[in-house]
């Protein structure tokens, strides 16, 4: 039991990732997204139970619900751009769930990163092609990072302490801190934008951001 990602942080990671997808896809898609995520969570719950027949039944039920959700998306009368937003996001959430079950030992981190990357692509796509609202984009981006962080925390905590131990306090503290930091930076960014302190042309902003990024890369080496 030791080397499996912990339950609470895993569930939070999946829910936050799904929240990001839902934010950018719009509330009209709440039903299919909700169904898919609910199915994935039921599947996760089934696999976490570890007792033969019940696991199989719950797992099959979860797969069924998740597939129904995806079928909803496929058959609904959605315009192309909207589905382009939704598909990578939903697949990303599914990959993230697969990472945390885990579907394959040793692949947890790689799969979680891949899942989060797909959700982020869906967020970016929504900003680029669909012109999503500024706040929606910011919150969804914070959500992607928070869900990736929660997933990695679940993986390392599972590897070091295991699923059998009492870990909820630590999980909630870590995930809570990351979400709080996200909220603070979203608020700061929004504030700076609204202040509209400078009439900087885009080129100036680009140079500034480029310098900031170069600084970051140096910091991380």
């Amino acid at each position: 039991m030791v080397h499996r990602p912990t339950t609470l942080a895993s569930a939070v990671a999946v829910l936050v990732a799904a929240g990001s997808v839902l934010l950018v896809a719009g509330w009209t898609h709440a039903l299919p997204v909700g169904l898919t995520v609910f199915g994935l969570l039921v599947l996760g719950f089934g696999i976490h139970r570890d007792d033969g027949t019940a696991t199989l039944l719950v797992g099959l039920c979860g797969i069924g619900i998740a597939l129904t959700g995806v079928a909803f998306v496929a058959t609904a009368n959605l315009d192309n751009i909207a589905t382009a937003e939704l598909y990578p996001g939903l697949i990303g959430v599914a990959v993230l769930t697969g990472a945390l079950l885990p579907i394959r030992r040793g692949w947890e981190t790689a799969l979680a990163t891949a899942g989060a990357a797909l959700v982020f692509l869906s967020v970016l796509n929504s900003g680029i092609a669909y012109g999503s609202d500024r706040l929606v984009l910011l919150v969804a981006t914070a959500g992607v990072v928070a869900s990736w962080d929660a997933a990695r925390h679940a993986i390392t905590l599972g590897a070091q302490v295991g699923r059998q131990a009492e870990t909820r306090g630590v999980e909630l503290t870590h995930v809570g801190a990351t979400l709080l930091v996200g909220a603070v930076f979203v608020a700061l960014t929004e504030l700076v934008w609204r202040l509209d302190v400078t009439d900087l042309p885009l080129e100036g902003l680009v140079v500034f951001l480029g310098a900031a990024l170069a600084f970051l890369v140096v910091l991380y080496r």
Partner: protein, 424 residues
């Protein structure tokens, strides 16, 4: 010992900033560019935090220090934060004795611990024969972002678990004469166990003449009995770096060796013979054979505390052939002519085979007890298992008694099986 290390938990978050920044600029989407700020924010956040200062105290209590084999012993661990700082992500792994398996609960725990606060957790272990010492617990404290982690060990003077089999216990009946080799020597003369009759030679004691045969046949014959001699046994544990290998999730061969040595030594003392202990590895460990309560206590102490027999593998995993050879030479000089040698080794390399064959060639009774820690998981481990079998074969062929011990089974059963094979 405290180590501070980076976890690289946030490595990759810069990609969010780079990707959003690049798309925002290239496609002229200011809102997407703005999202890059979030990536920057998350990249800076972990750097604002300091690694936690860890000052912890551990208190461990066991419900029973002298259990019988198979009994459940519950262990309660309390960890107190004695520092000034709240530990927001504290992970604890208790140092369960190497040979004991956790049967209930988990020996691992995670907690958020404010200064002065105590967190407790409990688990149960199943007692096994032998003396079992708790190892230091490991505490890993991460800062709340998870960027750095501080790992430290927590010592506690917990009582050892001393688990002894009761004498009338059935497994002990099997082990009443468990150690390999012969207490009855092959020498013949005076004694109590009949060996053979031979032709009378003048000077033979009259009470050894077979009078019944004289009455039947009229010829004098002398009865020979098997001679009994006191023997002494030295159990030598192979604790070289190569012996620190085991089946995943189970104890390594050195821990098995310590448990086996204890069982063998006690079986020898049980039949009132002398037994001593040796170990080769980091340093040469040597307690000459003897008997008596003080000696037994001393040997048990050495088994639990000698650095050569530590459950922690040595930092340098390279085997030092010269050092091991010097230690075997030292062992040879310490052995009496009559002393039987039992070597406990996983036979991970040729060294023990060479040494055992050399000693057997010199006429000393040598037995090798080999805990089987080989697996069939990977091609490499399968090759290692084949090599081990070849080594066992080489030892048998060289006149060394061999006990191939499947560690899932009791040592007593392995010894019985081996003795049956030898008597064939």
């Amino acid at each position: 010992m405290t180590t501070v290390r980076r976890t690289h938990h946030w490595r990759g978050v810069v990609a969010v900033a780079l990707l959003a920044g690049a798309f925002g600029v290239l496609l002229k989407r200011p809102y997407v560019l703005l999202a890059a700020c979030l990536g920057v924010g998350y990249a800076i956040y972990p750097r604002l935090l300091e690694p936690p200062a860890v000052e912890l105290a551990l208190d461990r209590r066991v419900s029973e220090t002298n259990p019988s084999p198979g009994d459940e012993v519950s262990v309660e661990v309390a960890v107190t934060n004695e520092g000034e700082e709240t530990l927001r992500d504290l992970r604890l792994v208790d140092g369960v004795p190497a040979m004991l398996a956790v049967s209930e609960g988990s020996a691992r725990h995670a907690a958020v611990l404010r200064p002065g606060q105590t967190t407790t957790f409990a688990y149960a272990v199943t007692a096994e024969h032998g003396s079992h010492q708790f190892r230091a617990a490991t505490a890993i404290a991460r800062d709340v972002s998870g960027r750095t982690e501080v790992e430290t060990t927590l010592e506690s003077d917990t009582a050892d678990i001393e688990c002894r089999r009761e004498i009338p216990d059935p497994p002990v009946a099997e082990t009443s004469d468990p150690f390999p080799g012969q207490i009855l020597t092959s020498g013949e003369g005076e004694g109590i166990e009949f060996a053979r009759t031979r032709e009378y030679r003048s000077g033979d004691s009259p009470n050894r003449i077979d009078w019944k045969q004289y009455a039947r046949t009229g010829t004098l014959a002398t009865v020979e009995y098997r001679q009994e001699r006191t023997v002494s046994v030295v159990v030598c544990i192979d604790a070289r770096p190569s012996a620190y290998r085991g089946i995943e999730g189970g104890p390594h061969a050195v821990s098995h060796g310590v448990a086996a040595a204890q069982e063998l030594l006690e079986a020898v003392w049980e039949v009132d013979e002398r037994a001593g202990l040796a170990a080769i590895g980091r340093d040469f460990c040597w307690v000459p054979p003897d008997r008596g309560t003080d000696h037994e206590r001393r040997v048990r102490e050495v088994l639990l505390t000698h650095p050569t027999l530590s459950p922690q593998p040595p930092e340098n995993p390279e085997s030092d052939y010269d050092r091991a050879a010097a230690q075997v030479r030292e062992l040879r000089t310490g052995l009496d002519r009559e002393t039987q040698l039992v070597i406990v080794s996983p036979l991970a390399d040729e060294f023990v085979v060479e040494s055992a064959l050399e000693l057997a060639d010199a006429g000393r009774p040598v037995t090798v007890v080999s805990p089987d820690v080989s697996t069939t998981e990977s091609p490499g481990s399968r090759i290692a298992a084949v090599e081990r079998r070849n080594r066992l074969y080489a030892l048998r062929r060289g006149g060394v008694s061999v006990v191939d011990w499947d560690t899932q089974d009791s040592l007593a059963r392995a010894l019985l099986g081996a003795k049956r094979r030898w008597s064939r």
